[in-house]
Amino acid sequence: MVSESVRISFSKTGRLKYISHLDLCRTMQTAMIRAKIPLRYTEGFNPHPKMIFTQPLPLFAESECELLDIRLTEDMPHEEICARLRKEFADGLYINKVYEPLSKFGEISYALYKITGFESARERELEELLSGEIAVKKKTKDGKEKVIDIRPLVRSLERREDALEALLGAAPDSYLNPDTLCRSMCERGLGKGAYGILRIGWYRGDMSPFE
């Protein structure tokens, strides 16, 4: 049996930012069936299509670089997969391209985000933020609250034109939810709470772009 892996890069923007990752998975699955993509299913009692996503986006965040790996049971040209899938989405989901994956998601170390809503934050305040611990409260699995320092997960945070660019940990064991950073910045008075997050790229540990 052929088992070609295919990587799909897509954007999730606009009203799709109100849709959770779990809901996105279901939306993807029905779209794949409609588009008649020859998806490989898992074996077992309750077969479901094999779909592997990169780190989920938090609710209210957008992205122009989401990645999804699927496996096929028979060949289908990448352009055709792309063209077929594009027809199956409403505004907010867009297939950027479909290609053969050359590396695994495990190589990803960082995600790059464009963050708006902190225009009034001064350079000095940002420097101050990065100069020490960034303590945030986190709920553990057993419901207790614990304080952790997210500073090590912030590789960089810089002003670029009218927005901030943040490079944050995105490996499974060092993932930082961008929303956690934004909320912490708001608590420090750097913003007023109405912020926007857009994921714009993935990077390896050596800062080479991952796609």
């Binding site: 606009g14 109100y18 849709i19 959770s20 939306t27 069936i33 409609r34 409403a90």
Partner: protein
């Protein structure tokens, strides 16, 4: 305007944003009528409703009409809407409902009436029909509750009685015609509409009451207004308009799958069941048509789960032919089939094998009553042997969970019938150990008891509902005698059932109660977490009405019933004879065995099991 800030402050913002794949968007400048289809419950429930899917499609098939969806906002969203002055809007365009030509509200259950009034208020539309001028939308009601919508008469301009696929289109077409010819006035339009079969314009009737509070008479105000409104049916389901795709919800809904209707109506005549009467006569789709529609929906939606919908799926005359056809391709495509609404007497090994190929952990049967005598009285023509045989098949097929539905407070019920509930469940549990080839450890038999609610257009429409004290006592008694570990006992809230009974058999004077409910800020009464019985008591007493008069009074078979103005095809004479037979515990054969002359054949219809019906 709907802003990011509002959506950040509510749970499940995806309920309010629209824009799903499959929604209909039209160019407003080319539209002559805009229809806001309102479902007075959450997005997740409304989006699961097949009727809404059918009517959304039927209306949008008209090129100059645009139908959009509206759901009841959850209280967190309601709060945001009120504090941000955001009026109720339709999901497709985001436009306020107030600006539409029609506000169509589907009435699925009585306890959502408080949501209906809340939605009118949130839309900025005066609650009372008489206070609404020419500029407000026509407020039209449809759905099962319109068979007695008297408590809602003050708030609606018109009700569409019966199946709406054709009727709603005729209603909109008349509107467009009158508007374009310049002859439109709201009053003139409603009067004209009353001449079309299936439309009930409540303001065109005067109701008189007797000194004892019962209805004396309904009289049309004008000679051209019909004295009775006959429900509409679709005669040939194979030819009925059918949506080839659904709006695909992003967020998970209650029935997030393909639901395919197999037939309408029911050959059974359970005497407590309203659906069994109001949807007569039985009309089936052909297996080929069902198969073709399911296939089409699979390709256009991408859902990998199909549920076959009907009042009793095993009564479909060509079920094995149908499942054969479906399984030819569903297995290969990894599409799972589910068959809800199984009857124990027609449940076969063959059927079991077919549905065990899909994911389903347990089975549910509805004996409804604990003894044969009471089952005969309610005309649930099913024997204990049949129940045990069906459960045995389920056990042999690898299931170990069975759920049994019963009703408490049925007319003629005695203590023996309550004991019978436990005994039936015990024998089901014992059957498990006698089943060869059974798997698993111990069986789990869940007894689920609802409270009997007398409903209009049933043989039991005249019967009193059991008092709260009596129902609670019966629930306590059952909880006490059901002590075996293999049995689990659940029961429904008797308080909500009482309110439901009062509204179901209510007359126009209950409109005052609903207004009081709105003043008290009531909504989402179909939800346990919001239903507050004390509030209903307050609303009834503020309106000077007595809940017991409607819920707990035995109506006389002589009195004029508030719903006598509606003609469902089935005659009052038939219902009365069924009532009388029930007192003698005499069953009545189903439509397949022989015709009992219910009267529904007068409506016509292409049908397999009503031999007297003709086109």
């Amino acid at each position: 305007m709907l802003t990011d800030n509002i959506l950040r402050n509510v749970m499940k913002p995806g309920r309010y944003t629209g824009g799903e794949f499959g929604q209909t968007v039209k160019d407003k400048t080319k539209i002559n009528a805009r229809f806001a289809f309102c479902f007075p419950d959450t997005y997740e429930i409304g989006m699961s409703n097949l009727g809404m899917r059918l009517l959304y499609h039927a209306l949008n098939q008209m090129p100059d009409t645009w139908c959009e969806r509206v759901f009841a906002p959850w209280p967190d969203m309601e709060e945001q809407m009120r504090s941000n002055s955001l009026p109720l809007y339709a999901l497709e365009s985001g436009d306020p409902v107030k600006d539409f030509d029609f506000m169509g509200i589907t009435l699925q259950y009585e306890l959502c009436y408080t949501n209906v009034l809340n939605m009118l208020e949130l839309a900025g539309i005066p609650l009372l029909a008489k206070d609404r001028g020419e500029d407000f939308p026509i407020v039209v009601g449809g759905g099962p509750c319109t068979y007695n919508a008297e408590p809602l008469c003050d708030f609606f301009d018109v009700f569409s009685i019966g199946e709406g696929e054709e009727a709603l289109c005729e209603m909109v077409r008349l509107y467009i015609e009158m508007k374009s010819s310049g002859s439109y006035t709201k009053a003139g339009y409603l009067r004209e509409l009353s001449h079309i079969e299936g439309f009930y314009v409540p303001s065109l009737y005067r109701v008189e009451y007797n000194p004892d509070g019962t209805v004396e008479s309904y009289a049309p105000l004008y000679p051209d207004v019909p004295g009775k409104i006959r429900k509409r049916i679709i005669k040939d389901l194979d030819a009925a308009p059918f949506p080839d795709t659904f709006v695909m919800p992003y967020i998970e809904t209650v029935h997030d799958r393909i639901t395919e209707e197999v037939y309408r109506g029911c050959i059974r005549g359970c005497r407590f069941c309203q659906a069994g009467m109001i949807y007569r006569p039985v009309r089936e789709k052909s297996p080929d048509r069902v198969n073709e529609q399911v296939r089409c929906l699979y390709e256009h939606t991408g859902y990998d789960e199909v549920s076959l919908l009907s009042l009793s799926i095993s009564d479909y005359s060509r079920l094995s032919h149908l499942t054969e056809k479906l399984l030819e391709w569903t297995d290969r495509e990894k599409v799972s089939l589910s068959l809800p609404s199984l009857r124990a007497d027609t449940f076969s090994k063959e059927l079991m094998d077919r549905i065990s190929s899909v994911r389903q952990s347990g089975l549910t049967f509805a004996p409804e009553a604990g003894t044969q005598r009471l089952r005969d009285a309610i005309n649930k023509n099913i024997s204990e042997e049949e129940i045990l045989r069906a459960c045995s098949l389920a056990f042999a097929g690898g299931k170990s969970n069975v759920k049994l539905y019963f009703m408490l407070g049925l007319p003629t019920e005695t203590k023996e019938d309550l004991d019978g509930i436990r005994d039936t469940a015990m024998r089901v549990a014992e059957e498990f150990y006698r089943t060869p080839g059974r798997k698993g450890r111990a069986p789990q038999v869940t007894i689920s008891c609802a409270c009997f609610i007398p409903k209009p257009f049933t043989a039991f429409q005249w019967d009193a509902q059991d008092s709260l004290e009596s129902l609670s006592e019966k629930q306590r008694y059952l909880a006490e005698i059901i002590s075996d570990k293999r049995l689990k006992f659940n029961y429904h809230d008797a308080y909500a059932s009482r309110v439901e009974a009062a509204l179901a058999r209510g007359d126009r004077r209950l409109g005052r109660v609903l207004l009081e409910c709105r003043r008290l800020g009531m909504r989402f009464d179909a939800w346990d977490e919001f239903f507050r019985y004390e509030d209903w008591i307050k609303a009834f007493s503020a309106a000077g009405m007595d809940m017991g008069f409607y819920a707990n009074r035995a109506f006389s078979t002589e009195e004029t019933l508030p719903w006598d103005i509606i003609d469902i095809g089935v005659t009052k004479r038939f219902l009365l004879s069924e009532y009388n037979r029930s007192r003698e515990s005499k069953p009545t054969p189903n439509c397949r065995e022989s015709c009992s002359g219910c009267g529904a054949n007068r409506l016509g219809g292409v049908t397999a099991w009503c031999p007297k019906a003709s086109e």
